[in-house]
Symmetry: C2
C-alpha cells in the first residue's frame, strides 16, 4: 500500500472567506497577533501499490481539487502492508 497526502490550498490571489472569519474569531478571543489565516485541505488516501503518480494527479484534477481556484501538491510514501 501507499499513502498519498494531498494538500489543496486556495490560490494566493483568491480571497479566503473562511480564513477571514477564523481570523475574526481569533481576534475576538484576544489573539490579536494574527495577520492572516488561510484554510486548505489535507486529503490522505490509502491506495494500492499499482497507483502511479499520474493516477494521483488525475484524481486531484478530476475530483479532489478545483484547479481553477486551488493549487495542490502531493507526496506519496510506501506503507508496510498490515
Amino acid at each position: 500500500m501507499k499513502k498519498v497526502i494531498v494538500f489543496a490550498t486556495l490560490r494566493e490571489s483568491i480571497l479566503d472567506p473562511q480564513g477571514v472569519a477564523v481570523k475574526g474569531g481569533l481576534a475576538q478571543l484576544g489573539f490579536t497577533g494574527v495577520e492572516e489565516v488561510r484554510i486548505g485541505k489535507r486529503i490522505e488516501l490509502l491506495v494500492t501499490d499499482e497507483t502511479t503518480d499520474m493516477m494521483v494527479r488525475e484524481m486531484c484534477e478530476r475530483l479532489l481539487v478545483n484547479p481553477v481556484m486551488e493549487d495542490y501538491e502531493f507526496s506519496i510514501e510506501e506503507v508496510a502492508s498490515v
Copy 2:
C-alpha cells in the same frame, strides 16, 4: 513574522463521511485502487513574532480544532518580514 501550519485530522476511531463520499466518487471515476480516504484541514496562519507555541496551542484548542473529534499538530517557521 512567523508562519504557523496547523493540521487537524479526524481521530482514527471516528468515521469520516466526507472521506467515504470522496472514495465513492473516485471509484465512480474508475479509480478502484483507493482503499481509504480521510479529509482534514490545513490551516496556515501568519502571526507576529511575539506569538508563542503556547498561544498557538490555545488557538487550536479554543477555536481551530475540535479536540473531541480531531487530533492536531502544528509547526512554526520564521518568515522574513516583507
